[in-house]
């Protein structure tokens, strides 16, 4: 009897454990999860170790002509044909392009919309309730430092037939580096916008209330220059949208703007550095430890405005663990020279969020310098650095998705070739599994 109870108990435990494991993997897979035929989430667990052989890089889109200045990438199914595409912000050619996956694994690149000066950030959203994805573009005007009011926010409006028309929402403002559409208040019907303006000596963060009929009303959030990213998430779990911003230049701070759902936001600095050469470079929000609370991951690795650009010993990847109640605990994920573009993604289908980042400002004269790094999560948020690649170099952005709907994660990177050597430069690279 006792024995039977033990067996039943063990079976029950195994079943509960399996269910828990499944739930954890299935429901918290984040960007790496894919939908199976019945809408069921399907992930393929990878056995291959994370190392330089894990991915096989190959260029996609137009061939490299001169030095690339890719400033941002976005993976989305723009034409909603079931195949994921890649949108490209080209800061040198001042345009947004669409690398369309015309059939599985086959990519063709085309311009969308008219020229946009210094595009720096891309988002896709149905901004007008048409059922089609428009493309929201943050335009710096000029990528290099400039204090003039040359920034703008542009929507590439989708007519539903893959024709895009530029519609300027905001212009003649300090250089815009970030824009995101989100319903920021409880009464928002159409998406509002968060706009980060790096500027130079002047800059700001504002949110733009969607008043309908394509009109917006600006509300100031921060008067400082230097905003790099300002993503939106419900950081407090109270149903109200908050904004987390990485502000560089002199202050080197992470700000959280706590929303009350009524359009009021309270500014709080949640982390920062007094090191003027800290080089904040990128921030995203992800539930790293899968505790239901969105965390903040950020990188510092910028070396843009120096006579001697390159790696610094303090460059790296960082995690601000959301403890709830507006409290965050800082963790260093790992050192990484020239680090940019942190993303959280379950690379191997293990159920744990790894962190991937690129390096744009490494010492590219050193053949061992790393350009793409994963920090593998052991399930207890202990991260082990795994070198994914040393070339191509000058990688400024990485995005992850299951590009081929096969349950495996691919990466897409873009390069910003700012300083020599340029021996191993690419433009847009797809990192496919080597298995």
């Amino acid at each position: 009897m006792k024995r039977k109870s033990v067996i039943v108990g063990a079976v029950a435990l195994v079943a509960v454990g399996a269910w828990l494991t499944y739930s954890r993997t299935a429901h918290k897979g984040g960007p790496s999860a894919t939908a199976g035929p019945a809408g069921q989430v399907r992930r393929v667990r990878q056995t291959q170790p994370l190392d330089e052989d894990y991915f096989r890089p190959h260029p996609i889109g137009r061939p490299l002509e001169g030095l690339p200045w890719i400033t941002d990438l976005l993976i989305c199914d723009l034409d909603q044909d079931g195949l994921k595409d890649v949108l490209v912000a080209d800061g040198r050619l001042n345009k947004v392009t669409w690398i369309r996956q015309v059939s599985p694994g086959k990519f063709e690149e085309q311009d969308i919309g008219g020229p946009i000066q210094g595009p720096a950030h891309l988002e896709a959203a149905d901004l007008r309730g048409t059922g089609h994805l428009d493309v929201l573009v943050a335009s710096m005007g000029i990528i290099f430092p400039d204090n003039d009011k040359i920034g703008s926010v542009v929507i590439l409006e989708n007519d539903g037939k893959n024709h895009f028309t530029n519609h300027v929402l905001l212009d003649k403002v300090a250089r815009v580096t970030y824009v995101q559409a989100a319903r920021l208040t409880k009464h928002s019907v159409l998406p509002d916008l968060v706009v980060g303006q790096f500027g130079y000596l002047e800059g700001e963060i504002r949110w733009m209330e969607n008043m309908g009929n394509g009109t917006y009303k600006s509300h100031q959030l921060l008067d400082l220059p230097g905003t790099i990213h300002a993503p939106v998430a419900d950081m407090h779990g109270d149903g109200n949208m908050d904004i987390v911003a990485l502000v560089s230049k002199k202050v080197e701070e992470v700000h959280m703007f706590t929303g009350d759902g009524q359009g009021n936001f309270r500014d709080q600095v949640i982390h920062g550095s007094t090191n003027q050469d800290y080089g904040s470079s990128g921030l995203t929000i992800a539930d790293v430890n899968q505790d239901g609370r969105p965390d903040v991951i950020f990188t510092n690795g910028d070396g843009f405005s120096y006579a001697t650009p390159g790696p610094r010993p303090w460059h790296g990847v960082h995690w601000l663990e959301n403890m709830g109640g507006g409290k965050f605990t800082y963790h260093k994920v790992g050192d990484f020279s020239g680090a940019f573009s942190p993303i959280a993604v379950d690379l191997r289908g293990s159920g744990h969020m790894d962190i991937v980042a690129t390096s744009c400002f490494n010492d590219w004269n050193d053949k061992d310098a790393v350009s793409l790094m994963a920090f593998e999560n052991d399930g207890h948020e202990h991260f082990t650095p795994r070198i994914l690649a040393r070339a191509p170099t000058h990688l400024v952005v990485v995005k992850a998705a299951d590009m081929f709907n096969d349950g495996r994660i691919e990466l897409v990177t873009g390069s910003f070739a700012f300083y020599p050597p340029y021996n191993h430069v690419s433009r847009v690279t797809l990192w496919e599994h080597n298995e």
Partner: protein, 589 residues
């Protein structure tokens, strides 16, 4: 007995020796273990020598706290932070930590992102040395950056109570005011701050931003100009400066030089160059930095001398050539620049920086043949270089090779959002090539960018006007009347509403396509611009007649007749025919 004594003696001696050895071992075991490696690969030999000396001194000095501190500083200044932290741990076991120790430990805590740990150490440093301002300012910053805004505010207020008007504290308090929505208080603080410290350019920038947001464009504009001066100087931090004296990392020293140089603190900047030179006498970096500094101060002769020394020390000519050419050109020593670049071009014929620098010199010498050859090589490798495209476009345009020049101009337009000249030339090219539709976009951009009061604005609008008319005519000829009117004629009219030509073109096109109402509207506007022009009334009458308004048509023809000069027989006959009712299908052709 004798043997017994000897045996006892040996035993005793053995015991003494064993005890001594034991004592030595115990003492050795009790001695603190020094952290870190005895030498570090990849670090300069001078650092490893200094490290060895520091470790020896610690051991020989019986682990004296001061010697341990020196070792800790050596680690910390060279960003061996874990080793430094462990060494301070050893220090703390030998002697109480002093204010400097806590200050340096706070810096280590900051470097590993432990802001509360940094604040704790700073409080200890301040307790021991309450007057050390950099520690108090850093504590304020730590509190603010870790979300303890109220505590930060108190700390900055405390600084102001002992050091009224302290600029960094005032600036940060203004920032906190703004975070809390207290704009007026922030403005008052910032205005007082820039009045007392005109070099606080960050304050001017912040104030400009606030005024801009509040719609006070005039004050925002004035403060914006103010903020464009060099960054304000950082408060002097002798403790941290002294730590940098132990730095053997030339990259970190170079960064410090740049930081102080950018703030105009030259006397603080220059020792870092000296230090780099001392560490690596063969390095050309000090000469490069000195040349850069001299050139920034417009001392071009001195800059050239430094760059030449750097080249002599083996500096990479790809890095130096663009700088030295810039200085030589500023000195108008074009021949010297040409000689130098010819020499390096012979050595590195495929280097883009050398090709570019050499091409710049060739352009200045009007050596078109060489410049063209060099620029072609540059653009083959790097098609989107700004100055190369600009110079090549000028050369090709002057040579009449406008198709090739247009390729460069199109690249320039793509790259440069504010380049009016390239857009104007490209527009001119397309107009000359009978491609008015292609001319419109660059010309529209150029008109939008150009100051409306400038002489160039007039010629740009004239070109754009022509482009609209020609493009409209082409669309009309293709039968696309709606596009001709909406995309071109109406834009031309909007651009120059007092010019009758676009109205006339629109009227003709509309009439040809039987859009009589639109044609009549255009002609009616023309009558207000040229009220004594009989042809307009004749045409207006024609259009109204075809639209079915015979009586109105007749009134306009009569008006035309009254205005027609006596000698204009043909015109008068045409009007007369209409008025006499002699109207056939051919009348309006």
């Amino acid at each position: 007995m004798g043997h017994r004594n000897v045996r006892w003696g040996l035993v005793v001696a053995g015991c003494i020796l064993a005890a001594a050895a034991g004592l030595v071992l115990v003492r050795k075991a009790a001695a603190p273990r020094l952290p870190g490696l005895s030498s570090y690969g990849g670090r300069p030999a001078a650092f490893n020598e200094a490290l060895e000396a520091a470790r020896d001194k610690v051991r020989r000095g019986d682990y004296d706290a001061e010697d341990l501190r020196s070792l800790a500083h050596l680690f910390q200044a060279n960003r061996l932070d874990d080793e430094a932290l462990a060494t301070y741990g050893v220090v703390s076991k030998r002697a109480p930590l002093n204010a400097h120790d806590h200050y340096y430990l706070s810096e280590l805590a900051q470097m590993r992102g432990d802001l509360s740990g940094a604040a704790k150490e700073l409080r200890s440093a301040i307790e021991a040395e309450p007057g050390y301002l950099p520690a108090r300012l850093t504590l304020g910053a730590m509190l603010l950056k870790s979300g303890q805004t109220d505590d930060a505010q108190k700390e900055y207020a405390a600084i102001l109570s002992t050091d009224p008007g302290q600029p960094q504290a005032t600036f940060t308090l203004a920032r906190i005011d703004l975070m809390q929505g207290k704009d007026d208080l922030a403005i008052a603080r910032l205005e007082a701050l820039i009045a007392s410290h005109p070099d606080m350019t960050s304050a001017a920038g912040l104030l400009a931003q606030v005024f801009d947001r509040r719609g006070d464009d005039k004050r925002a504009s004035a403060l914006r100009q103010w903020s464009r001066q060099k960054p304000e100087p950082e408060p002097v931090d002798p403790w941290m400066d002294s730590l940098m004296g132990d730095c053997y990392d030339t990259v970190l020293l170079g960064l410090k030089f740049e930081e102080y140089f950018a703030m105009g603190q030259i006397t603080r900047a220059l020792p870092f160059i000296d230090r780099i030179e001392e560490l690596d006498p063969k390095s050309p970096v000090p000469e490069l930095l000195r040349g850069w500094e001299q050139s920034s101060n417009h001392h071009e002769e001195e800059a050239v001398a430094e760059y030449e020394k750097a080249l002599a020390k083996g500096a990479d000519p790809e890095k130096i050539c663009p700088y030295i050419v810039k200085s030589l050109v500023a000195l108008k020593r074009i021949d010297d620049a040409e000689r130098l670049m010819a020499e390096f071009y012979a050595k590195k014929p495929d280097s883009i920086p050398i090709l570019e620098a050499y091409a710049t010199v060739a352009v200045l010498r009007d050596d078109t043949r060489t410049a063209r050859m060099l620029l072609a090589k540059v653009l083959e490798k790097e098609p989107y270089l700004n100055s190369a495209n600009l110079n090549m476009a000028k050369i090709l345009w002057s040579a009449g090779e406008r198709d090739a020049a247009a390729v460069c101009l199109e690249r320039l337009v793509e790259m440069n959002p504010a380049d009016v000249a390239s857009r104007a030339l490209l527009g001119q090219y397309f107009l000359g090539n009978s491609e008015p539709g292609s001319a419109i976009v660059p010309l529209e951009q150029a008109v939008a960018l150009e100051n409306a009061q400038s002489p160039r604005y007039k010629s740009l609008t004239a070109m754009l006007y022509t482009a609209y008319l020609l493009a409209g005519n082409a669309e009309s000829d293709r039968g696309h009347i709606a596009d001709a009117v909406g995309k071109f004629y109406d834009k031309a009219i909007k651009l120059a509403p007092d010019d009758a030509t676009a109205y006339a073109s629109k009227a003709v096109a509309c009439a040809q396509h039987k859009e009589f109402r639109s044609a009549a509207d255009a002609l009616e506007t023309m009558t207000s611009l040229q009220p004594r022009n009989p042809t307009i009334y004749l045409s207006l009458g024609d259009v109204l007649y075809q639209e079915g308004y015979s009586e109105q048509a007749r009134r306009n023809w009569q008006r035309a007749l009254s205005l027609a000069p006596d000698g204009s027989t043909e015109l008068r006959n045409a009007i007369g025919e209409r008025l006499s009712g002699n109207i056939t299908a051919d009348t309006f052709r």
